[in-house]
């Protein structure tokens, strides 16, 4: 087995309701400005929307934008931000051997077509034949390409020129954690030098909200911080994109790239989520990194979604660990498979500033250590899957 190599994050691309870039997110969090949630567009449901924006800067061709739906545009745009931040955008020599792991669910449906079919199909006594006829005549041929999960990666290849390995993982929060874990492990083992890892989530859509409301998990009526939504609370879904450039230290130093942070551990696991399961797995993950943690200069960035019982289960373990805790979901909402990467991106900003943002909600605890150098970033799934990473300041 190849000796494990050091892995750096050399690029961060973040797009959330707090704006564009990790610095924008940091400014908002640092000022402890109110969380920008939207309780009107999908009332009574509460979501976190992106600010109005143009995608032209990272997706210059309108023809490319037309071939994508919002989740892909958000993803391709964020990927471009990360590549720019890592100073590899446009450098085809580097892009030729840049690998990619994307966490993504399916794309979006044509709400108008679905609605028309739902109306018409109930007025006919030949529903099967009606469905075929409408689908054949009403679906845009290229919509399929905006729905295939791997076409986010495909569009990133097309727009930004990444042509190394390309894999897309599916599966809610775990997909994001595993994407980072595999990307980090491949670089550590010498299977890759440079990997773009990330995801995009378009949670401010009826079809996405419906898929979750079937489980009764969408936050409605009253906004509250993630920790304080109670057993009847839920998830405030978000639209967001988050990409990271992971790179071997040697490769980064050889090309003079500056590290945003070192990503030294990424763990993922699962269990059947019987009572106590999530706590046991998270505790095991913490124990695996605890020896590397300098408690005086470390804090936890939690990715808890606000859904119970997972949120309380996580908080119970975080209390045992006893490090200062901050949750980001109260501000940026929940982007499911993208949340873990978003939190690693925000984590990079926190490490650069060497301090935590102010607390919000009952689960945020502790004061910012002086000279913050390490972050434990959690990714406990709202339904399944537990993840944890150790992020460290370089030098």
């Amino acid at each position: 087995m190849t000796a494990r190599r050091e892995v750096w994050i050399t690029g961060v691309g973040l797009l959330t309701c707090l704006g564009e870039g990790m610095e924008k997110a940091w400014e908002h969090l640092g000022r402890v400005d109110p969380p920008p949630y939207d309780d009107k567009s999908f009332a009574p449901y509460i979501v976190h929307q992106l600010p109005p924006m143009s995608f032209d800067k990272q997706i210059p061709k309108k023809s490319d934008q037309r071939q994508m739906e919002t989740w892909q545009r958000v993803g391709v745009y964020s990927a471009g931000l990360a590549l720019t931040d890592a100073a590899i955008a446009g450098n085809q020599g580097l892009l030729d051997h840049t690998d990619m792991i994307v966490a993504a669910g399916g794309g979006e449906r044509d709400i108008a077509v679905d609605t028309a079919i739902m109306a018409g199909v109930r007025k006919t006594n030949q529903p099967g034949a009606f469905l075929n006829e409408r689908l054949m005549s009403d679906l845009r041929p290229t919509l399929f390409l905006a729905q295939l999960p791997n076409l986010l990666a495909g569009n990133i290849s097309l727009v930004h020129g990444i042509v190394g390995a390309s894999r897309t993982f599916m599966g809610e929060e775990s997909a994001g954690v595993d994407a980072v874990r595999v990307a980090q492990a491949r670089i550590a083992a010498g299977q890759s030098e440079l990997t773009l890892v990330g995801g995009a989530y378009h949670g401010t859509r009826w079809d996405v909200l419906l898929a979750f409301e079937l489980g009764g998990v969408v936050l409605k009526n009253q906004f509250a911080p993630v920790w304080d939504r109670g057993p009847d609370g839920g998830i405030a879904f978000a639209t967001m994109g988050a990409f990271l450039v992971l790179e071997s230290k040697d490769h980064a130093m050889a090309r003079g790239a500056r590290p945003r942070a070192r990503i030294s551990q990424v763990l993922s696991d699962r269990n059947a989520r019987k009572p106590g399961d999530a706590e046991a797995t998270l505790r095991k993950q913490w124990n695996a990194v605890a020896a590397q943690v300098d408690r005086a200069h470390c804090a936890v960035i939690s990715g808890a979604s606000g859904l119970e019982p997972a949120t309380s289960a996580e908080l119970a373990v975080l209390k045992e660990i006893g490090l200062p805790v901050r949750n980001t979901g109260t501000y940026i909402g929940h982007g499911v498979d993208t949340q873990f990467m978003a939190n690693l991106g925000i984590g990079c900003a926190i490490l650069e500033h060497g301090k935590l943002f102010g607390s919000i909600g009952s689960g945020d605890s502790g004061t910012s250590p002086d000279g913050l150098r390490q972050l434990v970033v959690t990714g406990v799934g709202n339904w399944r899957g537990e993840g944890l990473a150790l992020l460290e300041r370089v030098s």
């Binding site: 034949a129 041929p141 295939l148 990444i162 399944r384």
Partner: protein
Amino acid sequence: MAASKPTTSAYRDKAGRLVIAVTGMGVITSLGVGKEDNWAKLTAGKSGIRRISRFPLDSLRTTIAGSVNDVYKDYMPPAELSERIALLAGEEAIAQSGIGTKGQFPGPLFLALPPLEIEWPYRIQMAEEATPNGDAGYADLMRVARKPQFAPIYETLKYGIIGEHLADHFGTEGSPISLTTACASGATAIQLGVEAIRRGECQAALAVGADGSLTPESLVRFSLLSALSTQNDPPEQASKPFSKNRDGFVLAEGGAALVLEDYDHAIARGANVLGILEGCGEKSDSFHRTRSSPDGKPIIACMRNALADAGVGPQDVDYINAHGTSTPENDKMEHLGVSTVFGEHIRNIPISSNKSMIGHTLTAAGAVEAVFSLLTLEHQRIPPTINHQVPDPAIPLDVVPNAARDSRVTRAISNSFGFGGQNVCLVMTREPA
């Protein structure tokens, strides 16, 4: 069982890495369930393509498919059928491998799956509940979504649900990875398993590809992209890779599973080694969402990367399991690719397409065709490309037309090319080099 890694006299590949053995395989296609049935029919040149009986065919340009009718029951949504296919293929593979104990597979799961979404019957049921006498939009569906009769739908929409069920059933270790790289997905699952074992993270991995997504909408989606054959009659003659009159692929279901294992570990426990996963290559294409770069560079680089990863040259390959979809574009580009990579030697290499008989099993194809490539190595018999009545003069390849052929095969490659510029190539042998 001795799980410790031998430190001396252990097998290593040319790059000094662990050798990856395949010790168990399972496969399901429209031809049947299991390796034995599939191999018998495949080498007899039988087609599994038939007229679709699962839903009405009005208004559809394509009315045929390679449906897995042996597993499908009543109304089974794609998520359920895909899971069932993955489970049966996985059971066959693990039983053959004899690894672990029942319900305790000693390694991770890599699972290639089609994306999941709410199916039309559910959407319509919700609309009826929301507004019995009027039109319903998504906001109306939201109002009734929490009603108990719809609760069972919720978990079926989780992208991770099938992986969770299979992880429980097989007792695989760690977080199951569900993945998609479109039509290369099955090969990507294998590649992820190979990489994990080479990293020393595990000594075995279960790689599965499954696709049971024949629905009106999936058929329409490919149909609108003009990707499907419309030569519906007779169904079994529609898929004709490398023929001049080829006009598209035939959508199909299927699945396969492979137990990948550190060769030393397999030998130490006395396992029967079915073949070696010698190398994997990958190269993305940045030309177009559905078409290959006209110069073929990405698929050429993909095959060359695979050969380099295996530490072998073009002259060392004596069979190509083609992606061979039967679309005008793919088969032309694959010919350009293999004739560039293999040069003059391509005249000596048989290249056949399993898809002529089983159709394009999409997400599963890379895994299904890896299993068939390994069976080709095992039996020293090459399955044919059937329906090869009108050769394409622009594709002068030995496609093993219409009848299986006994042949010495020591090393095979299997190609998988997918929408979104996804290209994966696997190199397989019978014995470690």
